[in-house]
């Protein structure tokens, strides 16, 4: 099993969810993070003083999937999200040693 950690723009969440749903991903964990990558901060003003917000709102979507699905899913996500602009996001891939479904006690690939 692998974990895909997908960092996206906030307004792309709906689209990504749709793609994952269609690809048979059975679950996901979504969280709000502050991120920076090649896309650097934005400038804000507050009461006449400058404020560099160098961390931007990003959404992190984590999915645990079978090894076999990794390629097809990363492909589809890239198709959906690629605009060619900085800030398009990234995918990081990790190994998952085991998964357990608490409801049934199943473990391994059956559990995801």
């Amino acid at each position: 099993m692998k974990k895909l950690e997908i960092v996206i723009r906030p307004d792309k969440l709906e689209e990504v969810k749709e793609v994952l749903d269609k690809s048979g991903v059975t679950g996901m964990m979504v969280s709000t993070i502050m991120g920076c990558g090649h896309q650097r901060g934005i400038k804000e003003m507050y009461r006449g003083a400058e404020l560099t917000i160098n961390l931007l709102h990003k959404i992190k979507v984590e999915i645990i999937i079978r090894d076999a699905m990794v390629e097809s899913i990363t492909d589809k996500i890239q198709q959906t999200l690629r605009t060619g602009n900085v800030g398009d996001g990234k995918i990081f891939i990790y190994n998952v040693e085991n998964a357990i479904r608490i409801r049934t006690g199943e473990s391994g690939e059956k559990a995801i």
Partner: protein, 435 residues
Amino acid sequence: MKKSMFMIIMMSIFLLPTAVFAAEEVTTADIQANLDTIWVLIAAFLVFFMQAGFAMVEAGFTRAKNASNIIMKNLMDFSIGSIIFFVFGFGLMFGDSMAGFIGTSGFFNPNTLDLGLNIPMEVFIIFQTVFAATAATIVSGAMAERTRFAAYILYSAVLTLIIYPVVGHWTWGGGWLSQLGFIDFAGSTVVHSVGGWAALVGAAIIGPRIGKYGKDGKVHAIPGHNIVLGALGVFILWFGWFGFNPGSELTADSALGGIAMTTNLSAATGAVVVMIITWLKYGKPDVSMSLNGVLGGLVAITAGTAAVSMWGAIAIGAVAGFVIVYGIEFIDKVLKVDDPVGAVGVHGLCGAVGTILVGLFAVDGGLFYGGGVKLLGVQTIGVIAVAAWTLGTSFILFKTVKATVGLRVDRQDEELGLDHGEHATQAYADFVLKI
């Protein structure tokens, strides 16, 4: 004061006839005028406070990423409106009438006009100022979350400068509608419908927010970010309406109690009816629609608040409840006009319906009280005339703004939020937000 009183009393003993004259002159009319002065002022302050209510309702019912922008718009339409209405608007509304269509005097120094009022001109001007600002504010909610700030400033100024004063002149400035016998006591039509129709045109021309309607035409809800603040806003508006309606009597007399009662009963009934309808229709009572129900009831009773009975007020509030639910759905799902806070339904539809219902429920002249259809006809004419004027002028206005300054922010600013795009700021710096 005590000393001068004493002198008057002394005088009244020695110089009786004159004394009575003098004492009367000092006291009777003056005291009633002073009483009227503080009454109208307090009412004006309450109506002013409605600005806070609008700001909270509009901010609460939209998304966190646009909250500072909404606040700024509310602040500025009132501020700019206060100045513009003082300098020009009041004169256009209450100056010497040109054919019953528009006022033509009193610019720059409206306090020099003589309207033969019992209260000082300044008192009347501030009361009218806070009314004028209300009309402008209404539009801001319907066009929230996508309008360029500069465009907003521009059109809200024009609204307070021309569109509203003309309608005001027709009805309250001695113009043609008042001569017909049109009844709009505190402005269901003059204030609220004007705001509502302009909001409809604006929201239609600017188009829906990104994501509001799916490609398949599916309607997506975009929930407001703070229902508690929205509710606070509704309570503030309700509170302020006790200045709006009773204050429009412009004097402290025995009719005020009835006006306060009809105002309250209609608002309460509006809320209850919306709760019941949504409970039956959606399975659970809808909070944000019920809050709109209050506002619908308030807007609807505003025209007839001094003319209908308590039970008439309950009836009008009930009708407003239906108008709110089905009206907002109609605008959202059939017209596909995206109005984030329901301003068109609340102010446009309920304002129009409430004004027409005076023709049915007016104790004196209403159809249901044996008054025949005359009043009903006049009310309908008034509603239609004001709608035609407002739809027409605001269509021109918004098209012009669109073609010049531009009406809508660009896609990225809309997605990141207007707070960032238009003001380089954020409303909730310490909170983790979903978007």
